[in-house]
């Protein structure tokens, strides 16, 4: 009898179920006659907040130690052991999160949305390696970054890539950086985290796509040293530019270069500038011609890039879930054809007017229009600078590391016969 009554009650309740999703007291709390005590709902807390500060402390101390090992001790072994430690700590123990590469997005989101609470650790992980790079070169890349450390371990047979291929592929990180900042600043997505190839390995748990991506990177990494660092890493772009103005940078030789050429083929990253002595100096006229060409080329490229970017802004905005939702809601034909998606269902049950969604979408699209101009202009500038860099010849008499692309791994040092 009771069962039937309950069933009937349930039927009635489903009929009168309101749209409000908060829980309702349909059944009263039972009064137990037996000695039953209600268990508590366990709510295990998150990781201690203090441990986040420990991460920053570990970052600071490993960076200091590796900078000292690279510049003062000039030891490759030290760099190797630090990279093993970083791989273990930042990689496998901290599971690759928080990382400096991803922190770019937190910082850009924090800059554009003041309502976003930027975690202290994200800011610290973004700023501290940059400060160290400004003084000591890319020592962060050498062995503190777990991504770099992992790829460094598999670089067994590195091949020379050729400067042209190197610089063309070197444009990819700029594009990645631009897109990451655009999507983070518009509050769309964190694409660096989304397409992170190595966290899957750190967590020993990866989706198929992630696993394939990591496999390709590590497999090709045997022959192309550090493919992610050189041809994808968006943080590397910023580090590259900071390192060019670094106060002290690691040097191949401790004293004077004797031009013995022993180090020429030791760099797995093609980051050693071979000496270009003045053979046929350009005339002033030639130099002026080049200068004018660059002065015209760069603004033209920026404008062209910006225009292309602004034209593509709707395509770029497709990634935004709210833009996609608006598209699905506004398109009645599509809505009837397809079975209702969860997004549309959730939108309907939220009771939000379609007009509000449209307004929000227009606002996002406006941001993407500006962002498209900026991103395109940035890419134009990058391409222009690449051409300018190839036009200008920098004369240098010795074998020196390229301050921008050198990752301070200290491999070349071991081959230098000059000892102090």
């Amino acid at each position: 009898m009771r069962k039937k009554a309950i069933l009937f009650l349930l039927f009635l309740l489903t009929l009168f179920q309101s749209m409000e999703s908060f829980a309702k007291q349909r059944f009263p709390k039972p009064e137990f006659e037996s000695a039953y005590t209600q268990p508590e709902t366990l709510q295990p807390g998150p990781r201690y907040e203090l441990l986040a500060y420990l991460d920053v402390l570990v970052l600071l101390s490993t960076l200091s130690l590796i900078s000292w090992l690279i510049l003062k001790k000039r030891s490759r072994k030290g760099v190797f052991w630090i990279s093993i430690f970083s791989l273990a700590y930042f990689g496998f123990y901290r599971e690759g999160c928080v990382c400096s590469i991803g922190a770019i997005q937190n910082v850009s989101l924090g800059l554009f949305y003041s309502a976003y609470t930027l975690p202290f650790t994200a800011l610290a992980f973004f700023v501290i390696p940059l400060v160290f790079t400004l003084f000591y070169g890319r020592t962060f890349c050498a062995g503190v970054c777990p991504f770099g450390a992992m790829q460094d371990l598999v670089a067994i047979q590195p091949q020379k890539m050729g400067s042209r291929l190197n610089s063309v592929l070197g444009l990819l990180p700029y594009l990645y950086l631009g897109l990451a900042v655009l999507y983070a600043a518009t509050g769309t997505d964190f694409i660096i985290c989304r397409y992170d190839p190595f966290v899957g390995i750190f967590r020993l748990n990866a989706s198929f796509g992630m696993f394939v991506f990591a496999g390709i990177l590590l497999g090709s990494g045997v022959f192309i040293a550090r493919p992610y660092c050189r041809f994808l890493c968006p943080y590397g772009v910023i580090l590259n530019w900071f390192s060019r103005f670094s106060k002290k940078h690691m040097t191949i030789t401790p004293a004077n270069c004797i031009q013995c050429k022993l180090c020429e083929n030791t760099c797995p990253y093609d980051a050693i500038n071979i000496p270009i002595t003045v053979k046929n100096p350009e005339t002033k006229q030639e130099l002026l011609k080049k200068f004018i060409l660059i002065c015209i080329l760069i603004p033209v490229l920026i404008a062209a890039g910006g225009y292309t970017g602004s034209k593509l802004h709707t395509t770029l905005a497709e990634v935004n879930p709210r833009v996609r939702l608006a598209k699905a809601v506004m398109d009645p034909v599509k809505m009837q054809e397809k079975p209702e998606s969860y997004e549309i269902k959730a939108f309907k049950s939220s009771g939000k007017p379609a007009k509000q969604l449209l307004e929000e979408t227009n606002e996002i699209l406006r941001k993407f229009y500006i962002g498209g101009w900026l991103l395109g202009g940035f890419m134009g500038l990058t391409f222009g600078l690449l051409i300018a860099g190839r036009l200008i010849t920098n004369y240098n008499p010795d074998y020196v590391p390229n301050k921008g692309t050198c990752l301070s791994c200290n491999r070349c040092i071991e081959y230098c016969p000059v000892k102090v």
Partner: protein, 221 residues
Amino acid sequence: MPSRREFIAKCVRGGLLTGLVVLGGTLMLRPRRDDENCKFNFACGSCSLSDSCNQAEAVSLRSTVWQLDPSKCIQCGRCATACVITPSAVKCTHAYVMCGYCDLCGGYFKPETKTLTTAAENQLCPTNALKRKFIEDPFYEYTVDELLCIGCAKCVKGCDAFGNGSLQLQIRHNRCVNCNECSIARVCPSEAFSRVPANKPYLLNGFGTERLANDKTQQEG
């Protein structure tokens, strides 16, 4: 001339350093402005303005963790598949204080079930994570085995539709690795995920519009 080059490099270095300090300073020290219609759900920090947002009070702490709001959840089942860890860090969490201890539990039994037994074919839970125990006539206690639960929300849907809504999905913080961007938040259709202050990491629904307290939260390393 190396001296001229060095001078330029020095100036740029000084400029970059000041830039970094200014950037860090403004980001850390500026007062948080509350955005009335924040347009990002995946990395929401905290708004103190609207009631529809999860945060009823301003958050002074910078440390935040992910949590999902059961009142926004539509039980789509994506939590079970989208999490970076397997099985998902999202689990069914039983708020016992709200449970009606029903014999005919909408969260435990499949809708067409005729005999209310613990036979496998009657159970809604695909992994046998929801356990049923007789207490006294006519009350039954339901407990979630966290090791078996995959966060598919089938029981949550049932309890929400026919019961008190005591079974709710929550991110379990002993499992969550607190990704920079939660990969479930990215695919959540109802924008139920947001960052919440780490000292109040749960958003369990109570009756009406109140929330259950976080006071039983234990700190774990």
